[in-house]
Symmetry: C2
Subunit: 158 residues, 2 copies
């Protein structure tokens, strides 16, 4: 299974393609401690008009596995994008947003969850790519808290 | 990032672990043609009580990429499991079901979708593992059709 040519519809998202690695920090106004993590992100394609996306994080201090995500990014006309992301926490994040000049802004249109998952109401994400650096921020409304900063990381092309 | 020991909670799902490959066939009572596909499935873990799941298919005749899925399987007490799967079609499939004697039966508790995705109302899946063979069937209610057979495949441990 070799990689076919890039689908033209993926042009506006091509700046995301590749493997990225770096460090991030997380916090949330509940009883969780602030934490720092090492992260690996991969965006790739199979010749169709959709990006495949995976990421995984480990604790920066002891290397213990933390989070992981997997999903798909669907470019749309007029600098728009749709995103579907699965979480090991039992959540499915369905988002829409814009892609302009190396910057992606996403907001959930729906968050669904399995029966035992914690309550997550909404998620907002911003990704900014400049050259070989990808920075993102994630805000979240969850477990009764309003939309609040949760994660920020800066990655470099691996 | 080496693989840590299997989390005890994953014991009941351990028969799924590994890489699987084989062929399948699809049909649906819309205007799509019946189709056959080659499929690769991978179940793995990172030491936490969740299975990571990816699959991809290509056309059996010309090798063209068809579908892909990525998600997480969360074992629960009393032979239950929760599953979250992202689709490149813009759908997020959130399911619950049972795991008994190498057989998994799943039914969606929610299907959410991006704005441009086709209507999918519900999905049912059955996985059966016997030795090195994994067989599955997928039924779907979509675009106005009732719950109907859509996919079946038989894979072998790769």
């Amino acid at each position: 299974m070799t990689t076919p040519p890039l689908h033209p519809a993926l042009g506006p998202l091509a700046f995301l393609l590749g493997e990225w690695a770096g460090t991030g920090a997380g916090s949330y106004p509940t009883d969780i401690r602030d934490f720092r993590y090492h992260e690996e992100v991969r965006f790739w394609h199979r010749g169709k008009p959709v990006l495949l996306y995976t990421q995984r994080t480990v604790d920066l201090d002891d290397g213990a596995p933390l989070h992981a995500e997997m999903g798909f990014w669907r470019p749309q006309p007029d600098d728009r994008v749709e995103v579907v992301i699965s979480h090991p926490t039992g959540h499915a994040e369905v988002s829409a947003g814009s892609v302009v000049d190396g910057r992606v802004e996403l907001a959930t249109t729906a968050v669904t969850a399995t029966g035992t998952a914690k309550e997550v109401t909404a998620v907002e994400r911003t990704f900014t790519v400049a050259g070989d650096e990808l920075a993102y921020e994630l805000r979240m409304a969850a477990v009764g808290r309003p939309m609040t900063h949760h994660l920020a990381a800066t990655l470099r092309r691996a």
